[in-house]
C-alpha cells in the first residue's frame, strides 16, 4: 500500500502519492484561499506534513486522498483565519454577489464520467442555495454556526437547520442504496 511505503520513507512512493492527490488538493486550496501562490505554498506545507507524519495515517478512518485533503483544508483554514479580517470581509462581499450563480464549482462535465463524483454533484443539486451556501461557508472558509449566522444575517437556529438538512441530503444521495 502506498501510504505504508511513504511511512517507511520511500521517496518514490511519496512522489507517486503527490502525483495522484496534489492536483485535487491544490484545487481545494485554491478554492479556499483564492490565491494560487498561497495555495501552492500551503500545498507544500501539507505534503511535507504528509511525509513527516505518514505513520499516523489510519486507513480505517479515511482514504489517503481524504486524509490529505482534510489535512490541507485544515492548514488552509488556519491561513485564512490569519488574514486581515477587514479585507476578508471585502472579499466575501464580492463573493456574495456571485454566490447564487457559482456556489460550488462542482458538477462539471469533467466529473460526470466518474460515477461517484456524479453522485456528489447530483446530491449537491438537491440542496437549496441557502443550504449549499451555509455548507460552503463552513467547509471552505472554516466558519462556525455563529459566524455563518452573522455573515448571512440569518438566525442561528436557521443556520443550524440548513447545515443539518443539507448534510443529510448529501448523505442520502451518497448512500449506496441511492
Amino acid at each position: 500500500m502506498l501510504m505504508n511505503r511513504v511511512a517507511a520513507r520511500d521517496g518514490v512512493a511519496f512522489a507517486r502519492l503527490f502525483e495522484l492527490h496534489a492536483p485535487v488538493a491544490l484545487g481545494l486550496l485554491d478554492r479556499i484561499l483564492g490565491r494560487r501562490g498561497e495555495a501552492e505554498e500551503v500545498l507544500q506545507e501539507a505534503f511535507l506534513q504528509v511525509w513527516m507524519q505518514a505513520d499516523r495515517y489510519d486507513e480505517a478512518r479515511s482514504t489517503p486522498r481524504g486524509w490529505i485533503l482534510m489535512l490541507a483544508r485544515s492548514r488552509a483554514l488556519d491561513r485564512l483565519r490569519r488574514r486581515d479580517s477587514s479585507r476578508r470581509r471585502e472579499e466575501a462581499a464580492g463573493e456574495e454577489a456571485a454566490a447564487e450563480a457559482a456556489i460550488f464549482p462542482l458538477g462539471t462535465e469533467r466529473l460526470e464520467h466518474q460515477e461517484r463524483q456524479r453522485l456528489v454533484s447530483s446530491a449537491l443539486g438537491q440542496l437549496s442555495p441557502e443550504q449549499r451556501r451555509c455548507i460552503e461557508l463552513a467547509f471552505f472558509e472554516g466558519l462556525t454556526h455563529t459566524q455563518i449566522a452573522e455573515r448571512l444575517e440569518a438566525p442561528l437556529g436557521t443556520v443550524k437547520s440548513r447545515i443539518l438538512l443539507g448534510m443529510n441530503k448529501l448523505r442520502q444521495a451518497l448512500s449506496p442504496s441511492s
Partner: protein
Amino acid sequence: MSTPHSTRFEELLPAYALGALDGDDLRELEEHLAGGCEECRPQLALWEGDLEELAATIEPVQPSEVTRTRVLRLAGAGGAAAPAPAPLPATVRTPAWMKIAALLLLALAVWGLAGQARMAREVHALAEERDRLSRQVETLSQEVGRIRSESQRAELALSVLAAPGVQSVALAGLGPTPQAAGRTYVNPRSGDALFYAFGLPTLPEDKTYELWFFAGGKPVAAGTFGVDPRGTGSVRVERRIDPAQIQAWAVTIEPAGGLPQPSGAVVLKG
C-alpha cells in the same frame, strides 16, 4: 462519566465534521465523544467520509513544476521521480528553509535578549558594588585624614611635652565644677603651648569653653574648645607664647565661637 447517547448528539455530528460547531453545542458534544460513545464514533467517521468526497469533487489544479520539485526535495524523496531543483518563482513565498532560518534567528534573538537581561543584571550588580566600594574608600579617606590629623596633633603635643625645659601650669576647678582640672604645657624655646582639661561638663551647642592667659594684667584669648562625654578637652594655642610674661591661665564659658574678652563664668584657673 459520559453523557448518555441521544439524537441531539447525532444531529450535531455533521456540523462537527464540518468544523461549524461552536459554543455549548461543541463543548457538550466533545465531552460526549470523549466518553467513547459507541454510536457516535462510527457516524462521525461516515460524515467525515462524505466531506472527503465533497472535497474530492473540486476541479483539480495541476501544481507548478517548482512546487512539485520543492515538495519532493524538501521531503528528501527526490529519487528518480523528482526532476532537478528549479529556481523559485516569485509566487512561491516563504520557503520552509526560510521559516526554519527565521525560527533559528528568532531563537537567537530570544537567547540574545535573555543574555542582555543577564548582562544588565550583572552591570547593575557591578554598579552597586562600585558604589559600595566608593563609599568605603570615602570612609577610609576620612579615617586616614582623621588619623593623620591626630598624628600631627600627637607630634605637636610630643614636641611640646618632650621639649627640654617645658613649663607646665595646673588649673583647678572653680564654682560649679570643683572636680575639674586643667594643665598647660609651654615649650619655652618654640613658644608652642597646649592645654588639656579634665572633668568639665559638656555644654549646650550655643556655648563653648574659652582659654585665656593673662599678660600685663590683661586677658588674652588663647582658643576655644569642647569636651567629650568623659569631660576631656584640649586646645592648641595658636599664638606664640613667652611663658615669662604669663601671669595666669583661666577657662570661662562663653557664647559659641568665643569672645575677644571674657564675659562668662570662670570654671578653671591656675
